[in-house]
Amino acid sequence: MSSVTRSTQEVTPTPSLQGRPPRALRRLGDRVFGGLSTGSGITILVILAAVAGFLLIQAIPALTTSPEVLLQQGYGPFWSWILPFAWGTIWSSFWALLMAVPVAIGVALCISHYAPRRLAGTLGYVIDLLAAVPSVVFGLWGSIVLATAVQPLWLWLNTHLGWIPFFSGQVSGTGRTLLTASIVLAVMILPIITALCREIFIQTPILHEEAALALGATRWEMVKMTVLPFARAGIVSSVMLGLGRALGETMAVAMVLSGSREITVKVLTSQNPNTIAAVIAQNFPEAYGLKTSELIAGGLVLFVITLLVNMAARLIVGRYKDLSGAN
């Protein structure tokens, strides 16, 4: 399965057998082009270091000032201020992933292997359209349209499934709850996961698929035996990318949620923990001095969380890479 034919990986000038190897030409074009591309690669590292560095410098006042001063001039002691929002960020992203991942994989399969070939392009375009919708439009739609539409559903969930801790509590009258925000997040990350999965599903060696079908497998069995194992690493990495976007997504949450500072697992009440990104967006334009510094420190925390998620993703992908043959 994993033994995909590998052609020669790189072209190294083979030393001449005569013992007098011809000297490789060092062309000017090669040197300039190679230098430019290497420089661009290094630029990436510089930018990332700059992001972390500048944020850290601007955040230092918030991290070093005494809690009493922060209480007077800022939002309060930093860590106790940021903790509820960190929880809100993780909790809303969790629900978004729970809703988005199965659907996204289904849609990707639909486009790559199930839809008629002539229709597949159009369907793919429709999903790309969803990916292209700006986050602020999602926020507008989520807060005005979706929130009112799902409110009865939340009421129903609360009455019938209220014994589950998540759905307990007093249901919000406006429908602008954490779960609503998570739906918007799910809709927003779905096209990203779908697009990446689709790309990888399509790359499944067609011989594998045909071999499975020739052995009498049904279409679903063919997908299970060839497409999904081939794409495993790709699926994991696309899900992680979706998670990264959900964690940092600002506008949808900032516009849908009227967040509070309560750490709770309840997702249907009006007392929902806000997310870090939304707190920054809602307060930054009016902030000054130590408040700005605290918000930037919050951004640094968000940065670190997403950094950890991405590192975890890399480790998982690395473990599966050899098995799937996708890379």
Partner: protein
């Protein structure tokens, strides 16, 4: 083995559901769903009815198929239905969003919206000209910064990269993809604060924030496409004595061009709608500002947010403008996508798949 074959009916002719069976079952289940909904939840509602019908359809169809066609085909059918269902579920929010944006945004989609700014406008009237200018300028600058760096970085990773540097760049591009947009905005703000004094907010700062977001998108999409270019093409070119950089420019890039273009355009389409970083780095204003170096610059997404979040006394006018701004933004993004597709299709290399 032989007894099995003789007792079983011929699989080519028997053991299949008739062609229309799926649709008939679906219709039946939807009707039952509607009845259930009316009985259980008093007044008839379309949403719950469809939901009940769909939930009913899956086991009914599975049972039917299993009885007639066997376990494997039944599982296959259920998978197909679930996958088609996933697609329909995805279409619902998209359809709702497009419909609401169109119907709410069309009211103010007039000449005034595209020729006026919001300077001295209270209540009705006004437009988003200042925001449209800002969006074009900021996105343009961001693309000018991000596309060359992203493209060259991808070329480095695929063609030159070897060893620790290449590995770490790949790793950090992944990390950069995960940078939340608002963090990029904070970075640009912090950078400008250090360079030009605290509270410096201008269009260039917004463009810097957007380019931080755009570079990894361009690198990732380009890198993936360059890797797909068959090695045989490169080897053929080297065998003809073509230098490496000419091989990249004349053989590798054209082969992957269609994908690269669509990748870049998708990247532009994604960052053109970014709101949070621009709120922080480029700020709010009601006036036209075409100078990216001084004073805040309004952009279309921030305009939408501003109209929604900071309404005046007569809220409906502000909401109308927000929806029209959203409509404009969607049309802009759709146009970009379409252009990208057309270019991609025209220059696509001929391939078997």
């Amino acid at each position: 083995m032989t007894t099995l074959a003789t007792t079983r009916p011929n699989p080519l002719t028997a053991g299949q559901l008739p062609r229309g069976a799926v649709w008939v079952t679906l219709a039946g289940c939807l009707i039952v769903g509607g009845v259930l909904d009316t009985l259980l939840l008093a007044p008839f509602n379309l949403g719950p009815s469809l939901f009940f019908g769909a939930v009913l359809f899956l086991p009914v169809m599975y049972g039917l198929s299993r009885a007639v066609e066997g376990r494997r085909t039944a599982a296959d059918r259920t998978a197909t239905h679930l996958i088609a269902g996933a697609f329909v579920v995805t279409l619902l929010p998209l359809a709702s969003l497009v419909w609401e944006t169109l119907s709410n945004g069309i009211a103010r989609f007039d000449a005034q919206f595209f020729t006026w700014s919001m300077r001295n406008v209270i209540g009705d009237g006004g437009g988003a000209l200042h925001a449209i200018y800002g969006t074009l300028i900021v996105t343009g600058i961001a693309s000018i910064i991000a596309v060359p760096i992203g493209l060259m970085c991808a070329i480095y990773l695929v063609e030159y990269g070897r060893g620790a540097l290449s590995r770490s760049i790949t790793f950090f591009v992944d990390v950069m993809t995960g940078i939340p947009s608002i963090v990029a905005g904070l970075f640009a703000y912090a950078l400008m604060t250090m360079l030009l004094g605290p509270g410096t907010i201008n269009g260039l700062s917004g463009a810097l924030a957007l380019s931080v977001l755009m570079i990894p998108i361009v690198v990732r999409s380009t890198e993936e496409l360059l890797r797909v270019v068959p090695n045989e093409l490169r080897e053929a070119s080297y065998a003809l004595g073509v230098p490496k950089w000419r091989t990249i420019v004349a053989v590798v890039l054209p082969t992957a061009l269609s994908g690269i273009v669509s990748g870049v355009i998708l990247a532009v389409a994604r960052i053109i709608g970014e709101t949070a970083p621009l709120m922080i780095a480029a700020g709010f204003t009601n006036s036209i500002n075409t100078d990216p170096l001084h004073n805040p610059m309004m952009t279309l997404p921030v305009f939408v947010y501003d109209q929604y979040a900071h309404p005046g006394v007569e809220r409906e006018f502000y909401n109308e403008r927000a929806w029209t701004g959203a409509l404009t933004l969607i049309l802009l993004v759709m146009a970009l996508n379409l252009i990208g597709r057309v270019i991609a299709k025209r220059f696509a290399p001929k391939s078997g798949r």
